[in-house]
Symmetry: C2
Subunit: 378 residues, 2 copies
């Protein structure tokens, strides 16, 4: 059986876990947390980084930081993971769902301005499959209407956007805030895990407080205050050193991991493009302003029936391919609260998108088998 | 230097971590999560258990489960950790702080009824130092006024309450819900980590959904629904298998750990009681309905000056003893929101309580040195 995903181990994870265990510092914000945070900040140009127990938690931190209150509106794509919305729902926000692009599951940037009202507080673009949304458009709208931008970069580590001036920027470094995931299905993993990147430095001090359960404990340990106490709302967002020591082993190998994943992606692309064109199947699109990061290889079938047959054919050949999100505006939880606008592209990706196995250890033979199984299908 | 705390390793942590790493299942709700949850349920008689990334997160789950809404009032002691309050503040609750008992830092049960209004939704007793609050009184009030009880059992693993009928119940098994901590400072640890215990089974299904980001994913994997989606608010409350595999090694040794910690506690008690009586220092009190669990050994000095001198004397002898909470009703975050009632006992423990080193690896020589340093002090 070729699984859909298989977590990659660099071989050093257990070594760093041992080190963390036997030095005895296991709670959060220790040596490995700081090593990882420094790496991300320096490698990708984020303003400040804080590891979290999940990407969900990083999004929740963002919602607290921008002071989301009951009635505030937050614009995001309907075609996304539940956590993108939940983080803001937990603060009382009303979610305004946008449709996806026709050429890509990411938010249709041209549809956003019409959704902005005087209650809008934030836009949350999701860099689906690690492919950038058109951030110039989104940041311009944020400036025009005085909104915050929280990048949901769950899938977008080590991916880039080139702005209208030709400046190449890491995803997650552009919005006021950004959230990353290190869940075991991502490129770089720690089982469960995430990170908040803070680019608007007005949020830097408060982020640290919210991260540390609403206390100024970090400032205390730096000697900036003489005792620490309850100064804000907050939660326990920081992960154990068990998580960050594992993550550190992954980061040491990020180039190797990314090179291999991108090769897999290219091989899929080259092996499937002619077949896709002949069968009305949409190939993954990477706009000129974006890069890929080898996170995901997907196809969009012409209809649900074609997808169903493709998944079955692959399964019959011991290959596990899976669909992805279900439009959140049609979910049991939100459909009653939703204003009823049709979001046809979101529904299209919900019904027709299929993801193929893509993981580091996927080998040449397996890739060829998957490609040949698909091209022999229809 | 004798530290205040030193995380104890049973020797099997790295082994189970290896197993989790090399079986490749690193995200949440895998083999070790289920082993730990089963252990707690069967050992302590909880209705259902869900591991969380922290005790804070378990309290947040409780606040969501009992539908805390803006304006709801929640009664809890002021002398507690910030997370007890934060979890409910995040849902918009108004915190009604109660004073502590004169003989113990736990909530003064006799003061609770006067604080109940028609907005009160929950009582959150904190089993300070692992010593039970008088749960009969609290559960009777909850029944009389139709309130929920969420036990903050962060420090209370493996401790008991004997009710008025002589039935001995594990702390965390009595309230509708209860939260535990496995932070590295606790008896049983996983670096960061916690657990929600669910005793009122009306919450069981929804708890699982909230835990899994507001989705019915768990029901899907049990084959109870044919696809899973967004059905409620929620977060990513479940910890990585890196956390639960580590925790499992601790649980295998819980009897050994508890026996040793309780011996340390007894040695402190017997070595310090005469000195305390002669110096107006309050010894830790364990009511007849409660047990100790060797979590913490504290003393309450007669005034702040005496505590200051004691901490200094210990430090001069390379022994790290520390104070504990600062009254939350006087915190920078809540003092403006507070109704102004004096809580003299809470302030007394804030000003005068000192905690002595207590950890598994504390040896006979160190214990004797700490005791003799104290008894030679004043």
């Amino acid at each position: 059986m070729i699984p859909f995903n298989k977590p990659y181990l660099t071989g050093k994870e257990a070594h760093y876990l041992y080190d963390a265990v036997y030095t005895g510092k296991l709670s959060g914000n220790g040596k490995y947390t700081q090593l990882c945070q420094k790496f991300f900040k320096e490698t990708y140009g984020f303003g400040k980084c804080l590891l979290t127990t999940s990407c969900t938690d990083a999004l929740e931190m963002a919602a607290i930081l921008i002071n989301i209150e009951p009635g505030d509106e937050v614009i995001m794509p309907s075609y996304t993971f539940v956590s993108t919305a939940n983080a803001f729902v937990l603060r009382g926000a009303k979610i305004i769902f946008a449709d996806s692009r026709k050429d890509h599951p990411g938010i249709d940037e041209s549809s956003i301005e019409a959704l902005i009202t005087d209650k809008t507080k934030a836009i949350v673009p999701v860099h689906y499959a690690g492919v950038a949304c058109d951030m110039d458009i989104i940041m311009d709208l944020a400036a025009k209407y005085n909104l915050f931008v929280v990048e949901d970069a769950a899938q977008a580590i080590d991916s880039y956007y080139t702005d209208r001036n030709g400046v190449k920027k890491a995803l997650g470094s552009i919005g006021h805030l950004a959230a990353f995931s290190f869940h075991e299905t991502k490129n770089i993993i720690s089982g469960e895990g995430g990170m908040l990147a803070i680019n608007d430095m007005q949020f830097a001090d408060r982020a640290e407080i919210i991260w540390e359960k609403g206390t100024n404990r970090s400032a205390f340990f730096r000697g900036e205050v003489d005792k620490y106490g309850w100064v804000d709302m907050g939660s326990s967002f920081l992960p154990s050193e068990l998580i960050s020591s594992f993550l550190w082993a992954q980061l040491e190998n990020i180039e190797k991991i990314q090179t291999k994943r991108k090769q897999h992606w290219e091989q899929y692309y080259n092996g499937l493009k002619d077949w896709a064109a002949a069968n009305d199947v949409m190939m993954p699109f990477v706009p000129s302003f974006a890069t890929g990061n080898g996170h995901m290889f997907y196809l969009v079938c012409k209809n649900p029936q074609q997808r169903k047959e493709l998944i079955k054919k692959l399964k019959d050949n011991d290959i596990l391919a899976v669909f992805h999100y279900l439009s959140l505006h049609k979910s049991p939880f939100y459909k009653e609260k939703y204003d009823g606008r049709n979001l046809p592209q979101s529904d299209y990706y919900s019904d027709c998108l299929i993801r193929l196995p893509l993981f580091f250890d996927l080998n040449e033979k397996q890739l060829k088998l998957i490609i040949s199984t698909i091209t022999a299908t229809i």
